[in-house]
Amino acid sequence: MAFRDIRGYIAALERHGEAVRIKEPVDWDLEASAMVRLACQLGSPAPILENIQDYPGWSLAGGLFSNYRRAAIAIGLDPDLHPSEILNLYHRRSKHPIKSIIVDQAPCQENVITGEDINLFELCAPYLHEGDGGRYLGSWQFVATPDYDTDWLNWGMCHLMVHNERTLGGLLLPQDDIGVMFYGKYLPHKKPMPWAAVIGAEPLTTVVSAAPYGRGKSEVDWAGGLRLEPVELVRCVTQPLYVPANAEIILEGVVDPEDLRLYEGPVGEYTGYRTSPRMPRVAFRVTAITFRDNPINCVACLGVPTDDADMMAAVLTRSDMLTMLEINGIPVVDLCIPPQMVSHAAIVSVRKPHSYVGNRVATLLFGTKNTGMNLQQLFVCDEDIDVFDIKQVLHAFATKCHPKRGITYYDNQPATPLLPHLSYEERLLGRTTKVVFDCTWPLDWSPMRDIPVRGNFWDMYPERTIEKICDRWQGWGYPQDMRKVWEEGKARASWK
């Protein structure tokens, strides 16, 4: 069942022990975001801060989508499922979009501020990290923009920094859909681009905005497909576009081609560093603010793993990558974008139809914008590796990847300038080198002479011994229910 709004989702997180409500006063100036940051680093429940200094009636909620359990809850699944099962359901649902519906009345318009009364500092925007260039009103939200000459409505996620009472600054990359709309259409025609920032929509609606769905394709329908219910949209108050009716806060405005650019940043980024320096950015002028009573501002305090950005890549980019591999006939068994590696690495397990399948996977994933911009390191494993178990992957890497033959570099690849390992010149050019680590046994190796049997409990003992030990494991005082583990996995582990 889909959540109607972020409030329903937060209540579900709380029921599953994935969120805590904090009613003591908390300062929006660093304190709130520091709490979110620590909770993310510890893997603790998402803090829902209901008593914010200077902003009575406002709440801040952070880390709402920062682990696989929360991803499962968002889509209505058992949070204890294996990540692969959760993510495969996302992948299947993403293929069946559902059209949105329009409503007349919307909770997000319970309060409406326009004209001279607009003051962004009346909204509770946290100061996220010491040293950031400003307060970020949008950190886990998305910006809706209509195409210039078609009925395409695009959603995209970008930071929005508060400059003054009516102006926000944000990064519009030319290769992103919103950048293509602005630089390719609105700017040449000297027309202002309408936009609306949507803060605090139910989680799936927010999450889909972070991944490119494809030119001309609406993330709104994708969100409906993930929810199994249409997204309810309402018309904005001052701009010709539609936004989710049950969101907490909507900012409406224009990016005016007549406006010059503003310096924005620096800000702590998804990479785990303050990689976004002070740079010229686009000015988002605000024409209206609408919000629910007692609004909740949703906060992503980005930094080292694991936070919302890491998880969104783990869910959405994985789906894009799977699609790319499927349509090119790669016999992929499973795929993981480890949240600990901030979307810069992917691990793929494959059955091998021919030699160097790892390099085919690499060229496919490195070569497309959706999957390749962030991806730097690709690990390709045999089908006997659980790609979600980093310890298994590290073991395979250390034992199966030949230090010379197993590594292939791809030079002069396009890259996001936020990659911390790039030199200053490489950041300016957006240029990097990518690498594939082939952690598979060579196809021409003899299984009798060259490929060794792995020395783990499941591989080195007969099934009757495994079964006997698993049956009695808890009886010996161990906490794990190994009988259940074996029952669930024995078909997969069969030698037949």
């Binding site: 100036d29 680093q41 510890l42 200077d54 902003y55 500092f121 009346e122 100061y127 990290h129 010491e130 040293g131 950031d132 260039g133 400003g134 307060r135 508060v162 400059h163 003054n164 009472e165 102006t167 406006d259 010059l260 650019r261 503003l262 310096y263 620096p266 303050r274 320096p277 002070r278 010229p280 000015a283 080292v304 793993p305 694991t306 600990q340």
Partner: protein, 125 residues
Amino acid sequence: MHERPNRRLAVHKGFGWGEDAYEIKQREGREVYDTIILDDSLDKLLQEQEKEVTFSIRLLAPENRRMKYCFRMVKARISKDAKRYPDILLIRSQRGLLFPGNWSIEVLEMYKDLQWVAHTTGVLT
């Protein structure tokens, strides 16, 4: 991951987080602002001293606390000497590190408009 404090990078030692701006204001009776420069050293900024410059400052201790971190474009004079001008100016690098030592500032005019990139010259934004 990162459940306990790590060692600090040696190259970042010496860059603190600064005092609470309201505490400075209360103690010294002076306004407190900061600015973010487009460089990683103060060398170029030293040349901007004691002449009229137009750039953005952030309000760090405004009367209405909700307005903290609001940008204002100002025409001002600045000095590395912390006592030369009436108010305090803190300097941050383009990646957010706070330079040690307060500067001083005399705000000659404060505008509600913003400092646009095209109007920026030199190291000040």
